[in-house]
Amino acid sequence: MRFNPNINAAVLNDIQQSEQNVQTAYQQVSTGQRVNAASDDPAAAAALVQLQAQAASVDQYTANAEAVLSQAQTADSTLTSVVSQLNQAITLGTEGANGTNSATNRQTLAADVQSILTSVVGLANTSYQGVSLFGGTVSGQAAFVADPASATGYTYTGNSGINQISVGDSLTVQANIPGSTLFTNPNASVLGALSNLATALKTGKSADVATATTQITAALNYVTEQHTVYGNTINQLNSQETYLSQETVTLTSRESSLVGIDSATAAENLAQAETANSAVLAASAKVIQTSLLNYLQ
């Protein structure tokens, strides 16, 4: 058997192959990625695209949840103030219903109730980042405007629209309660009851004052009931945020197991490739320089 005497081509091929391995190992160490181009592992690269899309959705859900959370918290604290204002109005009404009150006293009480009405309207017009919290889905304007023609002195200019916000693939939360539901609900109108109480106090009929006070109590109960909607939203958002942050961790770890390489393995691969490369070079240097001529004299 004759052997190929010209091993240079084969030797060069081996050296190139070994240097290619060193480069690949180096690239994996420096990027921390096993897949640096789609052809490195087409299936993993394609799966990565899907994972990245999922991760981006999760990030966006988190951002949405944070935005709604602050909005809901603002609405929540606004309603807390409305509740305390209504409690105060009930106290005033109870006081006004007492027959021993003088007319002057009642006028003062009426003025107090009127100012509560004004401040409740003020609260109902609360806006968050330019969005009227209780104006339905109408934006850029206050929910309630003064209107002398209206019985309460105010007209609702919003609409009854409700925005649902996606904070998960299949989870949406209610972001707002329209002012028409909260403050001018026909069955338990906050503004109506307050305005009725003020009028009753002005006219001075104890029975009317008592009726109006009962209406306020009903309105208070209704607002408290609606208040829990925000409470629920806030709870839901808090737990969803926790879930989303776990999801982010899961997705990141799936991503790195898909296309990443752990640094110990990468370093070991590099060391191995370098050793192999030096061995090939050293061996090549030995085999390509000897021939019979070295020994013939």
Binding site: A9, A10, A38, G161, L292, L293
Partner: protein, 457 residues
């Protein structure tokens, strides 16, 4: 009858034989690094003996000729593999460029689509936020830019590939002409009974170069080598070569024509031309079609979702993207219909603060479209498609390269010049020459003895 003079004739023949051996060895050593050189050996044989009565006396050595040591079958195998390897290599070169259009990190088509849908989802928290709307419209612009630039990146290489086909065909013609003239020399030398080793080496080299450009089949016959490409198109028959030509076809691409002007583009399946045609006519169109389908369906369904809602001014949502009517050219032709951020139809009831239609807009990302796949799946499949084409071509090129190395190694073990062997031979021939010279010397002194005998008597 044997005599001193016939012995001298044998010795001088021996000297000639060793000289020739030394010259061939010398030639082998001189060509140790010549590409395509096949080592040569001298064929020596015993000369016919002379009958002297019952004795048969040897008549020395006879030079029969010089022979190249080659294995024709191996050469053919190498040519075949070279064809396929060049094809794979041409595909790798073109596809690596295309692969860079679909990066796994940084801004890519899929990442820009994802950002676009995220920016729309952000609108749901505050549909009237001008900054969010601006971001959404800019993301839409990025998506459009990605479609446009990838489509351009896919069609751009085809003109380079056309140029490759043209220059390759010119090279094929040049090599065919060269092979034809070598055939002529071969026939002439054969007729003159000369050693054809050198011509065969050259012919072999030319054929291997041809194999790198196109698929060829070579047959040896009395007229030299016949070289056929494609499905039976002759390149070289005997001393006649047939030139291929190119022309721009109806699709605007270069077609390969045989010497009679018939289109043989589809029959060229390997070599650099074959690989280039494969990328140009099969792989790029397939990728472009996936991209166009995605662009078309994405834009169409997004515009439909827009129409379900109302923009910030309360008007029914108008189309956000303009898209060509046909799938082909959609990625190149997709554009933004408006850059006005208020035109994004977030509202479901006409009130500016409503986000009711955002869900319809973002649903496009993961809803199954007409192609049977969602936007995300389609864009990830596109990455897979490009990645696997490149990976296949690369691994094919690598394995064929290894197989060629093995075959070349095998060929080298038969035909390669070994300095060790030649050096050892040289010593052997030197000694044989010295011995023959010694014989001449001896015969000379015998002649002298004989002459002196005459003188003294």
């Amino acid at each position: 009858m044997s005599s001193l003079s016939s012995s001298l004739a044998i010795a001088s023949q021996a000297l000639q034989a060793q000289e020739l051996e030394i010259q061939v060895t010398n030639n082998n050593i001189a060509n140790v690094n010549t590409a395509g050189y096949t080592r040569e050996t001298v064929n020596l044989a015993e000369a016919d003996p002379t009958q002297a009565g019952s004795l048969s006396v040897g008549n020395g050595v006879e030079i029969q000729g010089i022979q190249s040591v080659r294995d024709e079958l191996l050469s053919l195998r190498i040519q075949q593999q070279t064809s396929q390897q060049s094809s794979a290599e041409a595909q790798v070169n073109a596809l690596t460029q295309i692969e860079s259009l679909f990066p796994t990190t940084g801004t890519s088509l899929s990442s820009s689509l994802t950002s676009f849908f995220s920016s729309l989802s952000a609108l749901s928290a505050n549909p009237t936020n001008a900054a969010d709307r601006q971001t959404a419209i800019e993301s839409a612009q990025t998506v459009v830019n990605q479609f446009n630039s990838i489509s351009q990146g896919l069609t751009g290489p085809t003109s380079t590939l056309d140029t490759t086909v043209k220059t390759d065909v010119a090279q094929v013609n040049q090599l065919s002409a060269q092979a034809a003239s070598l055939n002529l020399e071969l026939v002439q030398q054969q007729a003159a009974g000369q050693n054809t080793g050198t011509i065969s080496d050259q012919l072999n080299q030319v054929e291997t170069q041809l194999a790198g450009l196109t698929n060829i089949s070579v047959t040896h016959n009395g007229q030299g080598d016949s070289i056929i490409t494609g499905s039976g198109t002759p390149l070289v028959l005997g001393t006649q070569s047939y030139a291929l030509s190119t022309q721009t076809g109806s699709d605007g691409h270069q077609q390969v024509l045989d010497s009679n002007g018939a289109d043989i583009t589809s029959s060229i399946t390997s070599g650099d031309i074959g690989g280039t045609l494969q990328v140009r006519d099969t792989q790029i169109p397939a990728i472009l079609n996936s991209l166009d389908t995605l662009a078309n369906q994405f834009a169409t369904s997004f515009n439909a979702a827009q129409a379900q809602g109302y923009d910030q001014n309360g008007a029914v949502g108008a189309a956000l993207f303009t898209i060509p009517g046909t799938v082909a050219g959609s990625a190149a032709g997709i554009a933004l219909a408006t850059t006005d951020p208020t035109k994004i139809a977030a509202s479901s009831d006409g009130s500016s603060g409503s986000n009711g239609n955002v869900a319809n807009l973002t649903a496009i990302q993961n809803t199954v479209l007409a192609s049977g796949q969602s936007v995300t799946t389609q864009s990830s499949n596109l990455v897979y498609q490009v990645g696997s084409l490149t990976a296949n071509a690369t691994s094919q090129s690598t394995s064929l390269g290894q197989s060629i190395t093995a075959l070349t190694n095998q060929q080298g073990s038969i035909s390669g010049v070994s300095i060790d062997q030649e050096s050892a031979n040289l010593i052997q021939y030197q000694q044989a020459y010295e011995a023959a010279a010694k014989v001449v010397n001896t015969i000379q002194s015998l002649f002298e003895t004989t002459i002196n005998m005459l003188v003294t008597n």
